[in-house]
Amino acid sequence: MKKLDTPQELDAWRESCKNELDHDRLRLRVCDGTGCRALGSQHVLTALRQAVNGNNVEIMTTGCPGFCEQGPLVTVDPQQIAYQQVTTKHVHKIISDTLGKGEVISELLYVDPSNGQPVTTESELPYYKSQMRRVTDLNGQIDPHQIEHYIAHKGYMALSKALYDMSPDGIIEEVIRSQLRGRGGAGFPTGVKWKFCRQSPGDEKYVICNADEGNPGAFTDRSLLEANPHRIIEGMIIGARGIGATEGFIYIRSEYPLAIENLNIALNQAREHGLLGKNILGSGFDFNIQLRLGAGAFVCGEETALMASIEGKPGEPRPRPPFPAQEGLWGKPSNINNVKSWASIPSIIANGAEWFAGVGTEKSKGTAMFSMVGKINNPGVVEVPIGISLRELIFDAGGGIPDGKSFKAVQFGGPLGGCIPAQYLDTPIDYESLTDLGATMGSGGLVVADESTCMVDLARYFMNFTQEESCGQCIPCRWGTKVMLDILTRICNGQGEKGDIETLEQLANTVKTASLCGLGQAAPNPVLSSLRHFRDEYEAHVYDKRCPSKVCWK
């Protein structure tokens, strides 16, 4: 393939890619994401390939569309018949009945738990109906290993616009006007951060994609990285152009081998086609991206620790200021954003800031991705407009609580976040409302708790996690989390004493204010928020020697 030298060549290629990707074609789309693989999708894939051998049926492997619980997923196009929990023993029936005779196999359809009715097509699944998929629209629809699929769906069009029709300042202005806020945790306005970095003196600048996704039980970034890596890459190139960076890094956790594989393939394809590297699309702009793998340390998700890790050092955070925009990687101005933030950029540039800000609340615009796990009917990844209520998120998209149990709380932001109890189900989900309730948007990882979940045990679990992951540099975090864990462990073992709750509270506040980095400053959050909303559960453990949810003891 010859490198693309002009925007016109990209347009021409897009037309030919569109023709290739004929939408009326008989096609089996098989999810090849981490979730489906763990449920045996690769055996299904092999069997399907053998069975259709020679027939005029295309088999397309896709990334994760988010509906993991129901995997392995196989979708039959052009009708979009959505089969769930497919195993090798269903393969022949799919070929003979659905492909051969056009019959739908009812036992493979999803049954809507709210009315007991089977759902035939993908777009009718209640799971997708309640979503607004802007960043994730192509997840599950394209093969992430084929750049042609992304190109056919307007891929790299925003980059072409940014390079040829916009100035670097214009790019940054557009992102500022969209009011996009960082999707990695703190929710800082992305465009403003870019501007700081652009204005920092120096010719050598870096952009970084934070793909460390360390929150255990969160997987929004994974699903994007696996299912549509080109969108993240395109966002980074546009950002680099705006900021004036010449080199980019994607720091990805090594626990995501499939995401790493797909990213590597995508980066090579982008380079081969002149979309990355020297003289991108003939515009004279040079920019390259390298991959860096994490080595299993949660704290490396913190931006200064992450940069230390790229520099080949232990991932120890340092105080800010100086902020990365002033002194980042190797002391040069650097800009770091989460995977979802980067992936939001191409559509902001392509459709304009107003389009992006057309959904959301006053201070939080756009859509947000959430991964939902725990006591919920449809664990998986969803994308919804910011500002919908918790009730809509958990009961419509998430399908509600299994086994007729009642909803107790939802944990936002994992070990650094907090919980929101049932009485706030109608709260709109945005950065401010969640913070007011003692939780945080975090990076979109949600854990749903029902009546059989013990909130004290959950707080102990998170404290155990942060205590193990503390880098140990500062004493409040190193020792504070340890002593807090000891108290929580005692309480959960039925050995809580009078005064424990108060000591816990006091310590939590000290660790929060005195720690060096975001890890220690946020580690007490699960304890403080569960104390705020579920103090009675702590008191039952300590004073009545009773675990109300019967988790710690019967």
Partner: protein, 156 residues
């Protein structure tokens, strides 16, 4: 078992020659090649990259992904992430400990098995998740563990 060689280290260093600070990347390759970081190799890395051995050692001990001891023939990783935890992942881990008669982070004395815990593998929606020699298995139960171990025994 892979044997140490100066040739390997040359190949690995060469692969990362464009990396300004290749220490971590080189150590990750060694870890995945040998299953641990052999002492001789760390000394060689320190000399060839001109990084003090003390820094090499601090990197080796800071990250959970590195091990200074040889690993077993089969590596079993049980997820202890939140999603797997609330789905009873701890019972799966306990069962593995009992069956293999080792603690997490240990290797059986015959060097057959290493048991590790891991904080989330991204397959949370289908947890409890266990990875055996790189292969993901979802919806794990104690009886599925028995089955899995039997299969490994039969195949080896």
């Amino acid at each position: 078992m892979n044997h140490f060689s100066i040739q390997n280290i040359r190949t690995i260093l060469n692969k990362h020659k464009d990396n300004k600070t290749p220490l971590l990347a080189v150590m990750e390759e060694l870890q995945s090649y040998y299953g641990y970081l052999p002492r001789e190799m760390l000394i060689m890395v320190s000399e060839r990259l001109d990084v003090p051995l003390s820094q090499v050692h601090s990197v080796a001990t800071f990250y959970h992904g590195f091990s200074l001891h040889p690993q077993g023939e089969h590596v079993i990783q049980a997820c202890t992430g939140t999603a797997c935890h609330v789905r009873g992942g701890i019972h799966v881990l306990d069962h593995l400990k009992t069956k293999l008669n080792i603690q997490a982070g240990e290797t059986t004395s015959d060097l057959e098995y290493t048991l590790e815990t891991i904080n989330c593998l991204g397959a949370c929606a289908v947890g409890p998740t266990v990875v055996t020699d790189g292969k993901y298995e979802g919806h794990m139960t104690t009886s599925k563990i028995d089955h899995l171990l039997e299969k490994i025994e039969q195949e080896s």
